[in-house]
Symmetry: C2
Subunit: 313 residues, 2 copies
């Protein structure tokens, strides 16, 4: 990590610890006696947040609950925490909206699919970190995506999340009016991840722009949805324009993730494996075991980074 | 149901059976040899769709996988299908993106939270019904929502799904360009459901507009998210404007549901219980067992309709 290490441990005095706390830009929260994080089935009057979560330094999030359980087992092994084979309990067992697991300083949370689903989770997660008085937290999305012009299995570290017109912005509708937020991600963290990829040297990894869409089929120019009213030529033209704009992969959560990291001052990264090359097709027909191996790649990369940051490597 | 009965069984000749088939407005599908429904972990080359799903007449969808499992057990009991206590297997066991259960002519599918998540599911569901050669299918979303000006526990049958500016439309971005689709739902079906509510006479039920948002916190004018940059007065003004525009509840899936029903010719309805009155607060602090009872209400209403339509009542 050397000098770029935005994550490296340092001695902090009280003032800078205060600065490094997760902050919530919401003056109304202070007036609330209790706070129920409804979609986590957790609440400040029923759970001791600082005791449960105060030591968190890394939060990894991904769409699938089972993948996030696999990740917590993997990272615990890597960090040599707990007993091998330990069955990590789901902290959000009171609901089936999200799944959450914790091993030492690492929290692993599922977020479902799409911007609204991850946004609900992030609102409640940021409040969880705030109520827990967490400091210096890094959050990384480890996901799957469609690649543009990359060999399937390649990993993309997101530089900017861009919308369907390739602009690095996220449009949020608040009180019926459009609010635009920036979607750049932490540059140092992306570089640190790229350095980890070089050290691992196990799979192709690039830094590039990630297009974030509200739909998997028509929104990503697929020809294989239930509805499709454009031609193959129009599809390819659109994807090639995206590539020219620096887009290397397409997924469905990065823009609101980046926007919310920016607004709440969290250091964030998005690391997604590409399951297919969209210039060559739409269907995900790769054998199940190959796809499964692909999905371990962001986990390996992020695991390597966390080990380094915690001085375990 | 009498004469309004858009769902009533009738003898159909071959031509009208053809008309009543689920159609997919996508000319590319015919050229595909196989079709992998990736997020269901089902495919036409690995599963016999007409044999598995050809008899489906009702599809009920909802956010939570466990709620959709509860529903299939409930409807099977109501229709007197299968053995009491039977543990219905998850047809999508090969993935944890969605859960799917079937009892006789009823399919029950989870869709996660938000427009993108339900849209992926609907694309694959509509293709599933098409490949299975299903006819005369009715699809109903049974969900939870925030009410406006209604006693908590009231049920809203959606007339129109409206966006955050109260317009009955859904904006979809295709190839980077905006496409507007209509979001009216089947009027006869809504009336049939209202008739069922009157027959049941167990809880307050209204027909009204449903506002569909892309976010649960800022998007629904809540004061209790991680981010909030407006005042309580601005919040209340917005919700009161919504009420004036005929909005009786707010949720996160109805607009794309209605739009996709319209484009693919499926008869659709949205039936949501209201968990709270948003004019009185934001937090869902009602005791767990009360919320659980609320969530059975759309199930009871839709169960009653299905029984009537299948001539079991």
């Amino acid at each position: 990590m050397a000098t770029s290490g935005a994550l490296k441990k340092k001695t902090v005095d009280k003032q800078s610890a205060e600065d490094a706390r997760v902050h919530v830009p919401n003056p109304h929260l202070e007036k609330m006696k209790d706070d129920i994080l409804y979609h986590f089935a957790l609440g400040t009057s029923t759970h001791d947040f600082p005791a449960l979560f105060g030591d968190i330094k890394f939060v990894c999030v991904g769409g699938s609950p089972s993948r996030m359980k696999t990740f917590i087992t993997y990272i615990a092994e890597q960090l040599d925490i707990g007993n091998p084979g330990y069955d990590y309990p789901n902290i959000c067992a009171g609901t089936d909206r999200y799944a959450m697991y914790k091993a030492g300083p690492v929290l692993s949370v599922s977020h479902g699919m799409g911007i609204p689903s991850i946004a609900i989770m992030l609102h409640e997660l940021i409040k969880l970190l705030y109520h827990s008085k967490c400091c210096n937290v890094t959050i990384i999305r480890i996901g799957t995506s469609g690649g543009i012009g990359l060999t399937p299995g390649s990993v993309v570290i997101t530089k900017q999340a861009v919308d369907a017109t390739f602009k690095p912005q996220f449009e949020q509708i608040i009180l019926g009016k459009s609010v635009i937020r920036g979607t750049c991600l932490d540059e140092n963290l992306a570089e640190d991840l790229m350095e980890c990829a070089k050290e691992l040297d196990e799979f192709n990894t690039v830094i590039g722009n990630t297009m974030c869409t509200l739909d998997f089929y028509e929104g990503q120019a697929r020809l294989d949805g239930a509805i499709c009213m454009y031609t193959e030529e129009e599809k390819l033209q659109y994807l090639k324009e995206a590539h020219k704009a620096g887009v290397r992969n397409i997924e469905m959560e990065s823009s609101v993730f980046a926007a919310m990291c920016n607004v709440s001052g969290l250091k964030g990264a998005v690391v997604c494996v590409t399951l297919l090359n969209r210039l060559e097709g739409d269907q995900i027909s790769t054998p199940h075991d190959v796809l499964k191996e692909y999905q371990t790649r962001p986990q390996k990369l992020v695991g390597h980074l966390i080990k380094k940051c915690l001085g375990k490597k």
